[in-house]
């Protein structure tokens, strides 16, 4: 009896802790949701502003003592950071509302990178301990457990903020305009509302909530410069489970996620890391628009993708590509082993980015979890060499089959969704795969990874491996290009541009996109298998979010409206990242600034920019056959 009571009380205490954690998560997630609802911007920098809120609050509370000073500091910190957010919206995002939506994600990702280094510059690399909240320093004893009194404040704060937001959105003109703009912002403009300021104010409110969420954390946890990404992923999960644009949904989902975190570690320690993503996947499969979300109409589907018709290479372009490949294969005569290792990695990421580019541009599906298939291919190759003792050649061919199987399984569920929901479900599947690799220690070695994935003798040297990587990458990109201009590619593009019309002429959209997803996953797996042999080892990091994000950045840098832009994007991004890492301690600041600059200067990506310049300046005579007709010609 006592044991049962003790357990019951323990469960209760654990639930209280979950509720307290939910408050900050709700603040951050509701801000993200509101911003997305009105501006359709997936604000990747949201976690960075959360972190800034915590850091600025730390500095202010350090300066201003007393109860008034402390609470005033939290509020002031949130206001300061909100002003910074508004500044970012006006200086950066306003210029790029008209470009494809993912570019805004890329820009905010660049800002995130910059903030990461700026925070270390301003506050140092060490974790910081904030002061306790005046008046809430102690603990309350409940059922024999001590619960910090600050937790009770947070528990009350969540519903209070939910109530205030409800009043704001239903009882003020501003709130009504925001809700109207969430549904149809063009109509709101036609009724005389200046969207510019509506967007800026919505953005400021969203950032205010994120920064307040961060500031409120300082009495509970240390302030660290890694807190941005962890909260970002959780906030995305909350927003998606709750339903995009729904504040109440975000509240429910924040409580759900926080309780899952609180209990998961106790009840299901084996799958604690994956539990939240598992729940998100289940919610999305059962309710594709989240708990309280409504299907929203994409502002304009595949905006601008058909501006320049895609064409196979003209003879001149084919010669140019052949020349580039020839030049690349001469690299071993020019640089040493280090350069060749870098070269191999670039080739591998060219293939990875090209496979993501395929599913994003031809398939019209923005995957946020493409690393899953890269990592599955790597683990597949590692299993075959380390556990089964197969040679490299066999592992390179058979290893990607694991990625194929994963893509077939996850893709079957994912292609039922579209837009951000598709992106989030793919992210969830990638995180599930990551945590399997991380937590199934007996097979995968967990965090220690799998070592001893060595290439065959002929490819063991830097030169041999470079040529192998180059050969595989060239063949892979060529195969993907051939698919673009095959009947399968045409059918896919039809389904992308108008799902209804494609189905009306007898195309099975879901099946087509599923197949494309499998193709993309398999090529990513091939890249992953190569990476395993390049590194001689495999780690859960291969499946991590940063790899997926790198892939997205490469695709967007190259240009989503191009056939093979990802190749250029991967070369530029990977080379720049590796070079910066070796040159400066502030590589993220420089890289982030470079990304922001590229987004502003080349909103159509590098290859898109080159194509624009070519079409503008090269006389029609030099362009080869049929380009000026403006219509796509059969290959």
């Amino acid at each position: 009896m006592d044991i049962i009571l003790a357990q019951a009380s323990f469960v209760f205490i654990q639930a209280l802790g979950g509720l307290a954690s939910a408050a900050s998560l709700f603040l951050v997630a509701s801000g993200l949701s509101i911003i997305f609802g009105v501006t359709r911007i997936t604000n990747f920098a949201h976690g960075a502003f959360y972190m800034l809120g915590a850091y600025v609050a730390f500095t202010l509370t350090d300066r201003f003592g007393g109860a008034f000073g402390f609470w005033g500091s939290l509020l002031l910190a949130a206001l300061i950071v909100a002003a910074l957010g508004a500044l970012m919206e006006m200086a950066l995002l306003r210029r790029i509302y008209h470009v494809p939506e993912l570019f805004q994600l890329l820009a905010t990702f660049g800002v995130t990178l910059m903030v990461q280094d700026l925070v270390v510059m301003a506050w140092g690399p060490d974790d910081l301990m904030g002061p306790r909240a005046p008046g809430f320093r102690g603990a309350v004893e409940i059922l024999g457990h001590r619960v910090p009194s600050y937790d009770f404040l947070l528990m009350a704060l969540g519903p209070a903020v939910l109530g205030l937001l409800w009043l704001l959105f239903h009882r003020t003109r501003w709130g009504v305009l925001v809700r109207a703009a969430t549904q149809d912002r063009d109509m709101v403009a036609a009724l005389g509302v200046n969207q510019k300021w509506l967007f800026t104010s919505v953005f400021a409110l969203g950032i205010f909530l994120a920064a307040l969420g961060g500031a409120l954390q300082i009495p509970r946890t240390t302030v660290t410069h890694g807190m941005d990404l962890s909260i970002l992923v959780e906030a995305f999960v909350v927003v998606v489970i709750g339903g995009l644009g729904s504040v109440t949904g975000a509240f429910l989902a924040a409580v759900l996620v926080s309780e899952l975190n609180a209990f998961g570690i106790l009840l299901l320690p084996k799958i604690s890391l994956v539990l939240v993503f598992l729940v998100m996947a289940v919610v999305l499969v059962l309710r594709p628009w989240g708990l309280l979300g409504k299907p929203f109409t994409a502002a304009r589907q595949a905006a601008g993708i058909s501006v320049r018709p895609w064409q196979p290479f003209s003879p001149a372009e084919r010669a140019l590509a052949a020349g580039a490949i020839l030049a690349a294969s001469a690299l071993p005569f020019l640089v040493g082993d280090y350069g060749l290792t870098v070269g191999s990695e670039i080739c591998i990421f060219v293939l990875f980015a090209a496979s993501l580019h395929f599913i994003m541009t031809v398939g019209g599906l923005d995957s946020f979890g493409h690393a899953a298939y890269f990592g599955l291919g790597a683990y597949g190759a590692a299993f075959l060499t380390v556990l089964a003792g197969l040679p490299m050649e066999a592992a390179l061919i058979a290893g990607p089959l694991l990625a194929l199987a994963g893509a077939a399984l996850f893709g079957w569920f994912s292609v039922r969704l579209s837009g951000v929901y598709f992106a989030m479900l793919t992210l969830a599947f990638a995180q599930i795969t990551w945590s399997i690799a991380f937590q199934w220690v007996e097979v995968t070695g967990g965090d220690n990874g799998m070592l001893g994935v060595w290439p065959a003798d002929w490819a063991a040297g830097a030169r041999g491996f470079y040529w192998l990587s180059l050969g595989v990458a060239v063949a892979g990109v060529a195969a993907l290009r051939a698919l673009v201009f095959s009947p399968f590619g045409y059918a896919l593009r039809a389904a992308r541009d108008s799902a209804l019309r494609a189905e009306a002429i007898g195309l099975d959209r879901a099946r087509l996109q599923w197949l494309a997803f499998i193709v993309a996953g398999t090529f990513a797996g091939l890249a992953g298998a190569l990476q395993a042999f390049l590194k001689g080892s495999v780690f859960p990091d291969f499946l991590g979010i940063p790899v997926s994000v790198d892939g997205l950045v490469m695709v967007l840098l190259g240009g989503v409206e191009t056939v093979s832009g990802a190749v250029a994007g991967a070369v530029v991004y990977k080379a720049l990242a590796i070079w910066l890492m070796s040159r400066t301690d502030l590589s993220r600041l420089v890289l982030g600034s470079a990304i922001v600059a590229i987004v502003l200067l080349f909103p159509r990506g590098i290859v898109g920019f080159v194509e624009d310049a070519r079409d503008r300046y090269l006389p029609a005579l030099l362009r080869g056959r049929g380009r000026s007709s403006g219509r796509e010609t059969a290959p």
Binding site: V176, R179, T182, A189, A190, L191, G192, V307, G630
Partner: protein
């Protein structure tokens, strides 16, 4: 002579969707206090004309002068704020918002020399709306939504209203209510430019008509002049 409170002069208006050239040198005008119908078949360019006037098409050239001011280069919200109201063909009411809230989105400050509309007056004009002030837009019938979209635009106190096919898809009884509402608007001194396929509806309310076909104005004149030329009517309108 006093300047007209509102008048719209359009000249050399061209519009494109992507590579498709939709409007070619469209030119016509709407006098103060006039109800003018822009007639044409499906796809003739009626909606695009209205959208181009509001600055809602991606690419256009030409001049739009409204109340003596060139508004060709203004963004849509600024055009609306100058007293040009727009009622889209597909209604586009905010389905999540209540009737009251839909009206609130359209509200603009009073404008000197122009009728000021308050919700109570609009509920009198459209009694159906008055009975469902707290109903969500998504739970209304097509006719009720059509009334709401007009009422919402009137909340901006416009001096001229662009009405895109207000009678489309409505029951005859509702169409009559629409005609009454438009006449009431004219009595308040508003000018109206409406696009219509339905000559019968235009007869009920319009002073003058312009006929558009394949993006060009083919006929401009009074209703009586149009009736006197049955060949024009038969060539450009589905009767």
């Amino acid at each position: 002579m006093t300047l007209p409170v509102s008048s719209l002069q359009i000249s050399g208006l061209n519009a494109w969707y992507g590579p498709a050239h939709i409007l070619s040198d469209v030119a016509f005008d709407v006098g103060a206090g006039e109800v003018v119908a822009l007639l044409g078949r499906n796809g003739a360019g009626k909606s695009t004309t209205l959208r181009a006037i509001m600055g809602l098409v991606p690419r256009r050239t030409g001049t739009v002068v409204f109340a003596g001011e060139d508004i060709s280069a203004l963004p849509p919200y600024a055009i609306a704020r100058r007293g040009l109201g727009y009622v889209p063909e597909d209604r586009r009411i905010f389905t999540e918002l209540t009737v009251e809230e839909n009206l609130e989105v359209g509200r603009q400050p009073p404008r000197p020399g122009v009728a000021t509309w308050r919700p109570e007056q609009l509920y009198a004009l459209f009694p159906n709306l008055g009975e469902m002030r707290r109903r969500q837009g998504g739970r209304m019938s097509g006719g009720e939504q059509q009334m709401l979209t007009i009422a919402r635009t009137l909340m901006g106190n416009p001096s001229l209203v662009l009405l895109d096919e207000p009678s489309e898809g409505l029951a005859p009884r509702i169409v009559e209510q629409m005609a009454d509402a438009i006449l009431a608007m004219r009595q308040q001194g508003l000018s109206v430019l409406l696009s219509e396929q339905n000559l019968h509806f235009a007869r009920l309310i319009a002073n003058r008509v312009h006929i558009i076909e394949k993006g060009r104005i083919r006929f401009s004149g009074t209703l009586a002049e149009l009736e006197a030329q049955p060949d024009v009517r038969d060539a450009y309108l589905a009767v």
